[in-house]
Amino acid sequence: MIRAKIAKRYGSFELDVELVAAPGVTVLFGASGAGKTLTLDCLAGFTVPEQGRILLDDELLFDAASRVNLSPRRRNCGYVFQDHALFPHMTVLGNLLFAAERHARLERHRRAREMMDRFCIAEFADMHPHELSGGQKQRCSLARALVTEPRFLLLDEPARGLDLPLRNELYELVRQIRAEYRIPILLVTHDLEECFALADTMVVMGAGKILQSGAPSAVYGNPASPDVARMLGIANRFEAEILALDPGRDTSRVRMLGREFAAAYLPGHLLGDKVKLCVPASQLNVVRETGPNCVSARVAAVTELPDGVRVQFDPELTVEMSRETFDAHGGQPDWWIEIPASSLRATG
């Protein structure tokens, strides 16, 4: 378990995060420039925070107050770099042996061999990194990081530059590592799918701060702010006024888009409050005729998706639907869109 509280200033950029990473995968999610990699660098010891402390289980890795700062080599951390950073002048085996150097010679070879078998890279043992493909390099750098038996693992955008099948292979590897090693794994990404594929806990970062953290489903179900909703790709965001609240039936009524809508109960709000609600584009329905929670809309733009269509409407609604649904509606300009009460969620 890692407990970290880190503050560091770079000119006008300010990193100020407090996070807990239990064994399992913690994904640092956010746009580039949010401070994700900087956070990893602080944990690994490459960057010295100005304030705060970093605890690994009960061991102090860094503490600004008592001037404790373990060097990277003494932190026992596996770091998988964006560009793998495999030593180009050593073979794959050489890279792994370098990492196993603190063991006796025979033991070193045994560990390297075992790790190469586990990551299916034994056949490349005598090759140099430049002879390997992206996926093979990735497996080598994971294997090399794990030879040292790290107490936590840091992955900086591990899927960058990998195509889809290789990505899925990587996700499978990370899951395998999670199951076998039971150590905290911190993974940096700006890819939403990757985040949901791997995260036990996701930490949403923006401008050097943690905006929200929790299980991915919990974060997606209740984004802490419109910004987080936007980063999670939740396309529809509304300003609404609460007209009625019924905690008993777990319902509420709100006014938005100039109409009244039923919604799930909105905890922590009062009657008459202005709230910001959001709905993922995939959860809106196209219906044939008007009904409760329906709004009429005109098509403004259509974008093709791999498995359907994304239609933008006026008033501002974005709906993802199957190609059949879209075709069935034909050239009709006016549509009825249903916003299911259960899909409306508060941001914050």
């Binding site: 690994a44 060097s71 990277p72 932190r75 596996g78 030593f87 002048h89 370098f98 150097e101 990081a145």
Partner: protein, 222 residues
């Protein structure tokens, strides 16, 4: 008149010794400048660069003042080795070394710094000490540039004139290096000797520079 080749062999011997010394000292200084953040780092770099731009006679004068028989360093050398340093071929080695070091330090520092980044970070997280990191990762990755710089340093030691003349003098058979012998030959009208030495030195230096360039280029395509 037969040509005396001894200045050439002396030059090669002096240059070889100077290259070995400046490689060791230069690499240590380059490591210091590339990896350690200390006060006066850039000042040290400037001081090391000085021999590259100062007139050789100025450099020779400094060395003479520092190492002459009446100075503490000169006396210490005499006490240890039983003879003075100035006006010996060892003094010529020193002159060439001082001349070659800036070249080595500059290029090696740049080469060591260019490796930097992720490889060094990776080595550190893998538990490598700074010592092992340097010998196993940084140096092997920078080796071509450093080797090329060493070759150039050798070429430069071969060609020193002013500084060597100031502190080693011009004693035929003892401290008369090729570049000094050429000057002497021209002065005394021995055209053939001058021409032969000039030709050999030029061809030799050309070959060295070509080799250094080849090394650098292979470095780029690695």
């Amino acid at each position: 008149m037969p040509i005396d080749w001894s200045p050439l062999t002396l030059s090669l011997r002096v240059a070889a010794c100077a290259t070995v010394i400046s490689f060791a000292v230069g690499l240590a200084l380059a490591y210091l400048l590339a990896n350690r953040n200390f006060r006066g780092r850039e000042l040290l770099d400037a001081a090391i660069t000085l021999p590259l731009v100062l007139p050789p006679t100025v450099l020779g004068y400094y060395l003479l003042v520092m190492l002459g028989r009446s100075t503490p360093v000169g006396r210490f050398y005499e006490a240890v080795f039983g003879g003075p340093l100035v006006f010996t071929w060892q003094a010529a080695v020193l002159a060439s070394t001082v001349h070659a070091i800036p070249l080595l330090v500059k290029s090696s520092r740049a080469a060591l710094e260019s490796v930097g980044g992720e490889y060094e970070r990776a080595a550190r997280t893998l538990g490598a000490s700074e010592w092992r990191l340097f010998w196993r990762v940084t140096l092997p990755l920078a080796r071509r540039s450093i080797l090329a710089a060493t070759v150039l340093a050798f070429a430069r030691s071969l060609g020193d004139f002013g500084t060597t003349l100031m502190i080693a003098g011009d004693i035929p058979g003892r401290t008369q290096t090729a570049s000094i012998a050429i000057y002497d030959a021209v002065e005394s009208g021995n055209k053939l000797a001058a021409q032969m030495l000039v030709l050999v030195i030029s061809a030799f230096t050309m070959a060295i520079v070509y080799a250094a360039n080849r090394l650098e280029r292979r470095n780029d395509s690695r």
